[in-house]
Amino acid sequence: MTASPSTSAPIIAVKNLTKSFGEIKAVKNISFDVRTGEIFGFLGPNGAGKTTTIKMLTTLLRPTSGEIRLNGFDPAKDQASVRQSFGIVFQDPSLDDELTAWENLELHGVLYGVPKKLRRERMQELLEIVSLSDRKDDLVKHFSGGMKRRLEIARGLLHHPKILFLDEPTIGLDPQTRNHLWNYVTDLNKKENITVFLTTHYMEEADRVASRIAVIDHGVIVAMGSAQDLKTKTQTANLEDAFLKLTGSSIREEDASPIDSLRAHSRMWRKR
């Protein structure tokens, strides 16, 4: 491979990665690289296998087969080194409801070894950004859904890892907070060269921040490239149309009622 500024060494390398849950094959033999300092968008319909892939990258699930190198380490073997390398905002809730906002942040900061002074500074700053400063001493169980989400994000940004995973970070957030979040993340990416791996269902967000995008559908990567590449390839004007063209417009079984999926099926049959 020739070295050019845009093709620095991959910080995440995935080769023939597969994950099965019994009969269900959630991820089927996918391969991709993420370069250091890149903002990588991982897009796909519900149930495509995005979260499952992230869980394998972050040591939460063991792959059925395939190879992963994250910051040079294997999540299946060298878990400690891998965990040193990343931070994550989960798609599902992961706060302790019985603790206050402040205590949740403090616990995270201590687990990630952020020195006390820096920790306190960042905690103040991040609570400001997600507008929770005045609620910092309230128990999380008394928060609204959006407030919990904002706290999760603040917590995820408390330490500055080499790689930051954001699994649908903006679900349930108001436009103001979304805007703040993406500004903060792109800033981190530029200033500290943090690699960002994100998933989202808002195409305009991916279009705005991601330097490269992979589209996954039914566990298979169907396209990869910059937002512009995907639009050109599908001859569409915006990323949303490109996405629909790549993944089809049928509703995913998981989200669809039986009637919907019947319709989707009959539509598919008619097409053939």
């Binding site: 972050t58 939460l60 699930l61 599902d92 603790l99 616990l107 995270h108 687990l111 070894g113």
Partner: protein, 248 residues
């Protein structure tokens, strides 16, 4: 070290914030102490056993420590369902430290609960044989607490949700308690029951507590401590091994 401390602190905070849980979990030991203590007391005395409350009190203290610590261990299932477990599983700290922090935290909570019940036994007329042995009794309570929190952790590490919970209550926790000699003396039992009581780790905990609180012992304090110590080490090892393997 800071990992262990912060996770310990979390358990303590959660405990202190759940008043209803504290009070609720005192109900059962109280019932056993007063209903059984005063109900069976006269028969026990007639049979030549002496004061039943004196005999029963260490058993009831052990019971509250047992229940609280098993539940503290099993709390992992809650954390899995509410999602918080993920946060600790991806953290760049050894899972062993996470497990130890949780276990010591859970055990501390169980110890506090045991001490509260200990104080309540005074209301039923119980008093320790010698006050100078009370610190020893507290150490023994803590050892029991660590052992059963580790057992709870081991169980919760392999359970995905609460479906197996009833099974554990009825086929593990209850038998551990009822077959431990907490309620009846271990002398002169039918052979089968005797063997089971000898296999029950709580028997040695109850016995050690009786040694320290009323100066009576069935197995001898040396054997008690040896068995409790070895069992605790084994289950800490098992618990941390299973905990390290958790996938979510």
């Amino acid at each position: 070290m800071s990992t262990i401390y912060i996770l310990w602190l979390r358990q303590i905070k959660r405990y202190l914030r759940s008043r209803s849980r504290i009070i609720g979990s005192l109900g059962q030991p109280l019932l056993f102490l007063f209903a059984l203590g005063f109900g069976l007391g006269p028969i026990y005395a007639k049979a030549g056993g002496g004061n039943y409350i004196t005999f029963l009190a260490p058993g009831v203290i052990a019971m509250s420590v047992l229940f609280t610590s098993i539940f503290s261990g099993i709390e992992i299932i809650w954390d899995r369902q509410f999602g918080f477990l993920k946060e600790t599983l991806v953290a760049p700290v050894p899972r062993l430290a996470v497990m130890i922090g949780r276990t010591i935290g859970g055990a501390t909570v169980a110890l506090i609960q045991g001490i509260i019940v200990f104080c309540i036994t005074f209301l039923a007329g119980f008093h320790p044989e010698s006050w100078s042995m009370v610190p020893v009794a507290i150490l023994i309570m803590f050892l029991i607490a660590i052992l059963f929190t580790a057992i709870g952790t081991a169980i919760a590490s392999v359970l995905e949700d609460f479906q197996g919970f009833q099974l554990i209550m009825n086929f593990l926790v209850m038998p551990l308690f009822f077959l431990s000699g907490a309620l009846f003396p271990l002398e002169g039992l039918p052979k089968a029951i005797e063997i089971i009581t000898k296999l029950d780790p709580l028997s040695y905990g109850v016995d050690a507590l009786r040694f320290s609180l009323i100066g009576a012992s069935h197995f001898g304090i040396g054997l008690d401590i040896t068995v409790l110590g070895l069992m605790t080490m084994f289950f800490l090892w098992l618990g941390s091994t299973l905990f390290a393997r958790i996938q979510v």
